[in-house]
Symmetry: C2
Subunit: 506 residues, 2 copies
């Protein structure tokens, strides 16, 4: 009996590993498309990717897989959901159920509309013409509602969509935490906006030669624990991190000679993602026990290295001397304190992707609240721009003069990514809660950073978060590691602790 | 009847195109492995490649494909072997028959032995120890004999192996042409060795900065007609050309700051291969009508651009002024004539891959003669080093002091590549015969080259050789284009015409 269950489990694992061989080949096709592919090769590349996607989809919905998993779900192997076997069975069933619940016609319609939606959105943003975008957004909302109904939910419809990006998380819980965050954050941002202190941003806008940025950025990424023996850094217009195998994690960045932070903190951010991927257990590659937990947990790793580590004073106590050597002209006469204040500039702004680490969360909360209203039918698409502008006024104290810099700024909704936005702020929340715990467990991270010691934190993350793969849900991880459920206080305290002294408030 | 044949043909074409999607994805995995893959990613990359190779093999030996092709072979669509349908049916049947004739056990044994053979060969060459290599070579010869028997042949056993690289070509014909070439070439090489003239090779060994070599090499490749909008040039230890799609042809080179010819002529060589790939009809990609004819025909394109074009005086009449601008220090005081003589240095040497375009063919003829004797059982492996050294004395007037620089120098036999060597010289022979014809058809290529006009030749090759794909065999192509069968005289006359004046002979 157990023998036969074991052999079924082995078949399932082999099936998953083979699927991962195809998926990682597809990822390489996509990485290459964004880095080195010759310009005229795009049409055939799309055919290659679509063909592999078809093979992968067949495997994900393979009936034999469904039968094996149904057998295993009833077996003793599934009893402990945190064991290797239990995790594998639970997570693969989850995936199989989701993939087979959606009618093929709906999947195709969503894919087509996502392609068209992005095209329409690009033109609408360019022409600052929300009315041109509205019909396709209405169709997308309707299709996503159908998708949610097909997937099913118990509490609210948004749950079904959120679950695609933040598995097992519930809307009510995210709403609770983000509302508390909003209520504490808005006054802090307001106080900063009214402070009479502000950094010399001009320091960051001097000339930082690209090749020196690359060398310096790579050194920093390597120092915090990203392995270049099992990874690469290349240049793309939109930075990203991708995982092409257990020893093959590739990150990208974009250099701006006249603005130091964009490439440098971009590299730390992507390296943070990459360190997570490199920390997943290699011998479980392709299995749930070797996969990341959720987008929020992934983002917690990138945000922690980018912000809590990379924008800390201790980090720059160690790195500033070498920064001065790398950029002698730009940093001539700029003190460590001036530089540190400049990279921690906080101010209400209109564009999410350019926002600082504090106001960023308000941008997210606005989108999270609006997309819930849209999907639940409480807000008409026609009323969206007005609602958008009202929330910006309310939470950030400013309002966009044009929809192009307002409701039209993000690609997500046009591509059908609804339920995705909150994972960015969940990332910040998880990061603060984990970072606080790591600081306690390791006894003072700042002193270590000031000495260039980043591997203790990397190894703590590896052991606590990376190594378990999907054995625990995000909520379980937070509870297990910090002894408490998800809470907004660590993030708000971290922000107050850093920004209060800089801006002379609190 | 015809309707149903047409629909079967469409299925077959769709099948072939889908196989090509997988094959080109596999090629990208291999290109990436040799260019940008992180060092530790090799093990998983091998798994990815092996998995795709398995899927591809399943498709190549798919019984439905065999049944479709058997139906089509009897249909009117197959009547004209040079029509699109006829070519497709003939060539796919050829491939299917070959793949299904070999027992799976033999294929696996050959794959395993090729891996082990190369490992043993690396060590044996390093230690100059032929005895360590002999047992694995004996096993390889035995397996290749089994392979040849399984594939079948009518005239001689070597035919079955040659056919893998030079389809439809026969050993007797290659022997005839290469023997005639050898008999005319050996005295020419002898006369050159005895000439009292020789070039100043030191010109080529000055400092040629790598970035200037890259810019200059790319300009030359673009000028002769390689498209960088549908291709790339990267750096690898062993240069190669690979085709990842109808608009995606990638070449590589290796730079030696202290030896100009290695990268530059390497780039022209690989660009020649690339121009062939880029000239194949894009809408037939994945079908025989969109594939190269044979290794010999492929090599004819690379050799023509590298040697007949790239080492011509007319080519340098056009390029030398820009070369002097690119390398002002290195070419200071070197005249065009001195430079031209230096890049056409001919002298007997021991190592094939470093040989000039004249003596190169004698290296090949030696290997061709020896591997026939081995596979036909006329030469024992134990006697191979002696036979090798004797032929080098006889044809080139020199003999290797060590087996490492003699019989152990090439990887081919260790990897089971028997029947491959002659395609290098066939490439030179085809190139000379085509080039002679192009010169007649286009009325004086040299004057055009001197003006920087290379596209007339590129377009002639495209129309005559690239565009037909596999509609004609190599022998048919040669006959159709030049009005004669393959002949050694155009090559020997080309060599005499160039080298005679340089060395003051003939």
């Amino acid at each position: 009996m157990t023998d036969s269950h074991s052999s079924v489990l082995e078949q399932v694992q082999q099936h998953a590993r083979e699927t991962a061989l195809l998926e990682s080949a597809q990822q390489l096709l996509e990485w290459d498309e964004r880095t080195y592919m010759p310009p005229e090769a795009g049409d055939y590349r799309a055919e290659q990717v679509a063909y592999l996607a078809g093979l992968i989809h067949q495997r994900h919905t393979d009936r034999r897989l469904g039968e094996w998993l149904a057998q295993l779900a009833e077996s003793p192997l599934a009893a402990d959901p945190h064991s290797d076997a239990g995790c594998t069975i639970r997570q693969l069933r989850r995936e199989y159920d989701k993939k087979t619940k959606l009618p093929e016609s709906l999947v195709k319609e969503l894919t087509r509309l996502a392609v068209r939606g992005q095209q329409v959105w690009v033109a609408a943003r360019k022409n600052d013409d929300f009315a041109a975008f509205a019909p396709v957004l209405e169709q997308m909302i309707a299709l996503k509602q159908q998708e949610a109904e097909a997937l099913g939910y118990t509490d609210c419809i948004y749950d079904a969509l959120l679950d695609a990006y933040e598995p097992d998380e519930k809307t009510a819980n995210v709403r609770r935490v983000l509302a508390a965050l909003r209520d504490d954050l808005a006054p802090l941002v307001q106080a900063i906006a009214e402070s009479d202190r502000s950094p010399h941003l001009e320091i960051l806008e001097r000339i930082y030669p690209v090749s020196a940025q690359e060398t310096f950025g790579k050194e920093a990424a390597a120092r915090i624990g990203f392995s270049f023996a099992a990874g690469r850094l290349d240049v793309t217009h939109h930075p990203f991190c991708t995982n092409l195998g257990p020893q093959d994690t590739r990150i990208t960045t974009r250099y701006d000679e006249r603005f130091f932070p964009s490439a440098f903190f971009g590299i730390l951010h992507e390296a943070g993602h990459g360190i997570y991927d490199q920390g997943l257990p290699a011998d479980h590659y392709g299995l749930p026990t070797g996969k990341y937990v959720s987008l929020g947990i992934h983002e917690s790793q990138s945000r922690m290295w980018e912000n809590m580590v990379g924008r800390s004073r201790a980090f720059w106590e160690f790195f500033y001397p070498s920064a001065r050597k790398a950029f002698p002209d730009a940093l001539e006469g700029a003190s460590l304190d001036q530089f540190y204040f400049a990279i921690n500039d906080v101010r209400p702004s209109l564009i999410r992707v350019e926002a600082d680490e504090a106001t960023y969360n308000l941008h997210i909360i606005i989108r999270f609240e609006l997309e819930q209203d849209l999907i639940e039918g409480n807000l008409r698409v026609a009323d969206l721009p007005g609602a958008w502008n009202e929330k910006y006024r309310q939470y950030l104290g400013i309002a966009p003069p044009h929809d192009a810099d307002g409701v039209l700024q993000d690609v997500h909704w046009s591509a059908g990514l609804i339920g995705y936005f909150p994972t960015y702020s969940l990332g910040n929340l998880y990061a603060a809660q984990f970072f606080h715990q790591a600081d306690q467990d390791l006894g003072g991270l700042e002193q270590r950073f000031a000495l260039g010691q980043f591997l203790p934190l990397r190894d703590w993350l590896r052991e606590k978060i990376h190594h378990p793969g999907q054995r625990y849900t995000a909520a379980e991880l937070v509870q297990n590691i910090t002894g408490r459920p998800l809470d907004h206080k660590p993030l708000i305290e971290y922000l107050r602790g850093k920004l209060g002294p800089l801006y002379g408030i609190g």
